[in-house]
Amino acid sequence: MTKNQSLRGQLVDETTFISLGDLCHSCTVKTEEVIIMVEEGILDPQVGQAEPAAVATWLFHISSVKRVRTAVHLQRDLGINLPGAALALDLLDQIAELKKAL
């Protein structure tokens, strides 16, 4: 079944930050999974001023969506654990940096 539509999307601003809830929804992951990724150093949320410790005040850069999804895919598809996925993400970042410098 094919449907033809002409769509004008909205460019996601690179300065956008999203809440923990939005991140979980967008990546179809549970809150606990994201918290563990923060603990593992995969994600680095901005912490709200009012209650520094409260998870509810966390704000994630929009690029976190891709990071979380990649971490989930790597774990599932390659049978690796989260620290392994974290290492792969860091190496992928390094490759991207090196490619730019090439």
């Binding site: 539509q5 999307g9 909205q10 967008s26 179809t28 969506v65 390659l78 992928l92």
Partner: protein
């Protein structure tokens, strides 16, 4: 039901294992191939297709029941041949399947060949599939896809037609994939890795809730003469030695069309010439950098050799002065 032809798939061949490979060998091979072709990691151009093929092959070969049944199809089949499952081929087997366990990729559906053998429906319920569906209203899932555009599209804006495979839950609870073709405007000024959000084009909501969004990640087509860093664009520009030495006006391509560039005399290789604001357009447009390279004409004819000989005589030039040798 419409009878469609499909190709026989040689799962052993796809994974590059022998027909008598042990389950352990198959698992090891799968792990290797999965790392090689994983779309989030791989540098190969057809990684996603390969990853999907390998995942499908592994789905069958890792499961002794499915593998035995597959082997029983016989060895007379060859990869790519038209295939119809022989009647009653799966007698005596029960594919308990159900969900996917660890180790299988989830990139939409498997091939028609796979589905003709093992049925469809159970192959889609990966972690990105429906999860936690409950009796109350719940907003549809956000979907994510990549769209490859030319750098020129970012300068001018463009329209792209993209086809997405969307898993969908039918009224009777089965999961099928539906091909959806969307015509999407690529806005001027998009950058590598940026996302375009298409509101309500993601998964359908449950219980009358609104649909999720569709996010398209922009990827610039890799075979371009330009390099991109953020909003800045780089081009390597080869020059003849006399152009670099004497200065010249040369035609230079840019994604917005070619321009005339003045190369100052005594330009060295590696020198960067900046064209302000000619990078990717934005409120604050990026810059366009021309990186000079010097191409040496070959000394393959007597007359050309003579010119080099003459340069050798006339110049007092030590290119290795900085090396202090």
């Amino acid at each position: 039901m419409l009878e469609s032809t499909m190709e026989y798939k040689d799962y052993y061949d796809i994974m590059g294992v022998k027909k008598d490979a042990t389950q352990d060998q198959i698992k090891r091979t799968y792990r290797k191939l999965a790392r090689k072709y994983h779309p989030d990691v791989s540098q190969e151009s057809d990684a996603e297709t390969k990853f999907k093929e390998v995942g499908e092959a592994y789905e069958v070969l890792k499961d002794p029941e499915k593998r035995t049944a597959y082997d029983q199809l016989g060895s007379q089949w060859q990869g790519g041949q038209d295939f119809h499952p022989p009647p009653g081929w799966d007698a005596g087997f029960e594919f308990s399947g159900g969900g996917r366990d660890e180790g299988g990729p989830d990139l939409g559906g498997f091939s028609d060949f796979f589905e003709s053998l093992y049925g469809r429906g159970y192959s889609h319920a990966g972690p990105d599939g429906p999860r936690g569906r409950q009796g109350f209203q719940i907003r549809g899932e956000d979907h994510h896809a990549k769209v490859i555009v030319a750098l020129e599209d970012s300068y001018n804006g463009a329209s792209r037609s993209i086809t997405l495979q969307m898993p969908e839950v039918t009224a009777d609870g089965h999961i099928t994939t539906r091909n959806r073709t969307l015509n999407v405007r690529i806005p001027k000024g998009v950058r590598q890795g940026q996302q375009i959000r298409l509101a309500s084009q993601g998964g359908a909501g449950h219980g009358g809730a609104e649909a999720g969004d569709l996010y398209l990640e922009i990827e610039f087509s890799p075979n371009s003469k330009y390099r991109v860093d953020g909003a800045d664009v780089y081009l390597d520009l080869p020059l003849a030695p006399w152009e670099a030495a004497l200065g010249a006006k040369v035609k230079v391509p840019t994604p917005a069309g070619s321009i005339d560039l003045k190369v100052p005399p005594n330009s060295q290789a590696g020198k960067k010439l900046r064209l302000k604001g000619r990078g990717i357009p934005a409120h604050q447009s990026g810059d366009f950098y021309v990186v000079l390279q010097i191409a040496l004409p070959p000394a393959d004819k007597e007359v050309n050799r003579k010119i080099y000989e003459q340069m050798k005589q006339e110049f007092s030039f030590n290119p290795r002065a900085s090396l202090e040798v």
